[in-house]
Every structure is written in structure tokens, then in C-alpha cells.
């Protein structure tokens, strides 16, 4: 008997009482979507910024290696998306479009379509996500309702920069992935 057959058979042998699959409850949201989202992002050590702040950030950090995939931000592009993600190793900034944002925790939904290459939002030194204000929802539940059965090979909820507290619980930003996450709400 294959392992699959034997695992399934041993589960079937167990008398298991039927239980109901609950519906996901709806929860009331009180607050302002934009405010809550911005607070959540900054609690996650990211920041909501304006386009002017982005320009200053680029200048003051001497950033030259930029890939901008978000519509309306093409002018920032200094290079094109390579076919091999290894070539992104020296990328300083990626500007990508987010699909929706969650006010309670700052999570932003992206799929293959937004990323170009799946490695992009991780390997870039700094990440900027452009997010329409009207895409904000209160909780994860509404987010998954909108996502529905959207077909994408890869989807990501990103809520902040790469971080770790593995050394004596001291928070350090920039463990492996992006050292900053900034969001431009449009």
C-alpha cells in the first residue's frame, strides 16, 4: 500500500464525530480606515509617506538603482526588471502597486501581477508600495472576501519591513529582506 493510501486508510478507521464548519463571523469596525491603517503600519515599523517624502528619501539616501512597477511612477525607473531574480541583489528601491490594505494590522495584498518577480519585494533594500485609499478594508476577513478565489501563483500580505528580535528580544530592522517599508496612499 502506498503511504498515501495507508495514511488515508488509518484516518478513515478512526471513528470521528462530525462537526460543523463555522461561518466566519462579521465584526464591527469603529474608527477611520486611513488613520488605523497608518497607525498599524507605523507600529509595524513601516511608514505612510507622501510622494514628496519619497523624493527626499531617494535624494538623501543617494538611491540610484530603482525599479518602479506602479502605474504613474515610471519616471522613477532606472532599470528594467531582469529575467533572473539574482540580478536584483543590488537593487536599492522597488516601487510597486498594492491591491488592498487592511486597517487593523497594516497588511497589504500583492500578487505575481504586482511583483513582476516574486523575489522583488524581499530582495530590494527598500520597498515602497503605492496603495489606493479606497482599497482599505477593516479586517483580514473583508480582505479575503475581496480576494475571493482570485487566481495567482503567489500572493503576499506584507505588513512591514524585514525584522527580527532573535538576539535577546531586541528588535532589529532589516534581517534579510527590505530594510524599510513605506506606503504612499493615493
Amino acid at each position: 500500500m502506498s503511504s498515501k493510501a495507508s495514511i488515508i486508510a488509518s484516518i478513515k478507521e478512526i471513528p470521528l464525530e462530525a462537526t460543523e464548519l463555522p461561518e466566519i463571523p462579521r465584526f464591527e469596525f469603529s474608527g477611520n480606515l486611513t488613520d488605523n491603517f497608518s497607525i498599524a503600519i507605523s507600529n509595524n515599523k513601516g511608514a505612510v509617506i507622501s510622494q514628496t517624502q519619497l523624493d527626499n528619501f531617494i535624494t538623501s539616501n543617494g538611491i540610484t538603482e530603482i525599479i518602479a512597477l506602479s502605474a504613474g511612477f515610471d519616471a522613477y525607473n532606472s532599470r528594467t526588471l531582469p529575467s533572473n531574480p539574482h540580478e536584483l541583489d543590488n537593487l536599492q528601491l522597488a516601487i510597486i502597486q498594492g491591491q488592498l490594505g487592511v486597517a487593523e494590522n497594516g497588511a497589504i495584498w500583492l500578487t505575481d501581477e504586482n511583483m513582476g518577480l516574486r523575489a522583488l519585494p524581499f530582495i530590494t533594500e527598500h520597498l515602497v508600495i503605492v496603495l489606493p485609499k479606497n482599497s482599505l478594508v477593516p479586517f483580514m476577513h473583508e480582505a479575503y472576501e475581496i480576494i475571493g478565489d482570485q487566481q495567482s501563483g503567489f500572493g503576499l500580505f506584507v505588513a512591514g519591513p524585514s525584522k527580527t528580535a532573535d538576539i535577546e528580544q531586541s528588535l532589529v530592522i532589516g534581517a534579510h529582506g527590505a530594510k524599510s517599508l513605506q506606503v504612499i496612499l493615493i
Binding site: I7, T19, E20, P25, G155, D166, E168, G177
Partner: protein, 452 residues
Amino acid sequence: MSHPAKASEFLKDPDKAKWHDETLWFVRDKRDNSSKGIPEWEKLRGTASQIKDNVLANLDKYLLAFEEKAKANHIHVHWAKDAEEHNQIVLSILQKHKCKAIVKSKSILTEECHLNPFLEKHGVDVVDTDLGERIVQLLHQPPSHIVLPAIHLKKGEISDLFHEKLQTQKGNEDPEYLTHAARTHLREKFLAAKVAITGVNFAVAETGEFVVCTNEGNADMGVHLADVHIACMGIEKIIPRRKDLGVFLRLLARSATGQPITNYNSHFRSPSPGKELHVVLVDNGRTKQLAREKFKNSLKCIRCGACMNTCPIYRRSGGYSYGSVVPGPIGSILSPGLDIKKHSTLPFASTLCGSCSDVCPVKINIHEQLYEWRQEIAKNQGLNVKKLSMQIANGVFSVPFAYQMSGALLRGALKILPSSITYSGLNTWGKQRELPEVPQATFKNWYKKNKA
């Protein structure tokens, strides 16, 4: 070695033990604040628990549905009845790709299967990429906590280690400096690996996708740069619907560290063009646990670690004292199911205060199962657990907390008591269920005594 014997090893460094205790308490505190911040917390826990009950009652159907969907999305699905078969499957994929060096993100399952030593024996260089896991790997140690693998180490020890292995400045203990040194070191590994292994937090029957949660982004750095991604999961990680993720992602990080969500929550549904994606579904004792009516609920665990952070015994005895891959309260109900003899002291490493059950995001009745395991173990050894435990509680250990015994007493007790009954008795804290904390004064006394 029994749990109490190993615990007394850990307590030989009282300052560090105290730090460990206080730090985990701090994490527990963050969890409390975070959960209290959302009024729907209890409703979410209840829903998550019901979803998991439904999963356990329909595990075969959900597994088959997951496989069908995943295959349709070009994911290779493998089934492994035990650790050995799991390891063989992984090795054969590596061999097919002539791969001699891999990166691996946090996966408790691969620890359980002892994948690293197995692959190393076959000439594969394995690099754990979670910072905490990399630290313990460089020390040739296992993780001591499922969420905070290096929580038993102080920054001085990590500084010494990095100085030796990564050529960092001697004596520089700055966590930021050390983390960034590891970043540079691991970046090279990410860029070089052809195959990346990850664990799985949730796998969705409805869509055939699976979700991996990290804060560091290390899982994604590995898999998106590699040609082949192998995801290893216990069969209990299945959830029915995509929308169930909304419930679990709200609970997981809040319970683990107090964050509202992990920073990266990656949903893998099909491989990138030209790449390969494998999922290994592993039983390794899980169907046996499912068949144990009293203990099957332990399979609902989402590995948040909250029960460890809150446990007065875990905080004061350290993860290694359990001698099992998953330590703490949940480990103490999972491990006896795998090897009742080896882990016979674990269900006694508890005050049965119930704090673990109170914080558990999927409402596992952990402390009740600990009690049940004590009965099983006593039966197994032909003893009356209640009588013995009462004797212990009234006699040698007439204190509310098991570790309030001096090393000498402990050693003496071990001589006269059965090895499995080394902790004070049943319900010494009664039904005091509002997340009790051990009085600081008694703990200090204990340290003083222990030091002497």
C-alpha cells in the same frame, strides 16, 4: 535524563535563568495587550477552535482535496508515513537536481524528522536561515523554543559565536551589528542555493495553496531565488477554506509575539514559470494521535508558542529540559504520544494551573490533557498517580510550585520517588484560572537556596 534533572542543569546559571523567565513573561505580556486590544478575541478563538475540530473530523477528505487542487496547480505532492520516508523524499529531490547546498527556513517538522543530520550524512550542506535558528545551528544545538529558537542565549554568547564564525569584532554585542553581519553572511547563502526548504503554517484544501509566515522574510528570500521549493508539512496543517486564513492570521502573531500580523505572509499556489514546487505531507505519528480520543485535540496546535511563554515551568526550566522537539506544555502532550517511555516525566512538568489552555488561540485543553497523560503514565507503570502526587505535594514538595526545591532535595527525591513523579501534585494551584503568576518572593528564595 528526566525533565527535572535537565531543568536543574538549566538553573545552574541563575542569572540567565532569571533573564529567561522575565523575557518570556514580557512576551506573554505583549500577547495579552495585543489580544485585549481586539474585542472579538474570544469569538476568534472559538471560531478557530471549531474550524480545527472540523478539520480533524474530516482530515482525509481535506487532504485529498488539497492534493487534487495542488496537483492541478503544478505542485508535486508527496506523502510520507514517517520521518524516514520524509527525509528520503527530500533527499531524492535534491539528488535529482544534483544539489549539495540548501537553505531552509523555520520548520519544526524538519526538526522533528531530524532532516539536517540526515542530509548532512548524505553530503548536503544545510543552512538554517531564520536568525535564531542559524545561531543555534552554528552552536550545533537544536532550537529551545518553537518561535524564539535562541531565547536561551545571551548576546555575549552570540557575539563570541559570530566573532569565531563570521569574523565580527570581538566583544561587539550590539544586536543590530550582529544581525546585519548575519544578513550579509546569509545573503550569500540565499544567492547560492538551488533548492530551498520551508515549513508550512497553513495549507488550504479549497485552493491547494499553502501559507508561510515570517517576520524576517527568510523563507521568501530562499524560495524565490532557488529553482526548487520543497515545503514540508504535518498533515494537521490543513484548513478548509481560504477565508479561514483571516481567522488564523489574526490569531497567530498576536499569540506568538503580540504583533497584529507577521510581516510576511506568503501564499504559494503554483510555481513560478520554469521552477519546481513540492509539498511533502507527513504523518509521523499524527494519525495515531488522532485516534487517541483524549489527546487528539493536541493536533489543533498552530505552533504560536504562547503556552510556552506563559508556562511557569517552561520559563524557569528552559526549552532543553523537555528533551523533545516541541517543548513546553504542548510538547508535553504531543511527545508522550510519540514515545511514552522516553517522555514519561513531561506531563508532570506542569503545575496544572491552566494558563496554557487560557492563552491557546485554538482552545486546546492543554492542562487537562497533561492530567490525562499522568493517568496513562501511572497506569503504565502500575502506580496510583493521585495518591503519589498528593504524597509529594504534602511532603517533600509542600510548596505551590514544583521548582521550589533545592538541588539537594531534588536529588534526594529522585532517589526515593519514581522517576515519573517528581513534581508536586494535581491542581496545586486549584482552579485559579486568571493567568496566575508565581509570587516573586518565593522564586527568589528558591534561587538563594539553589545557589547555596
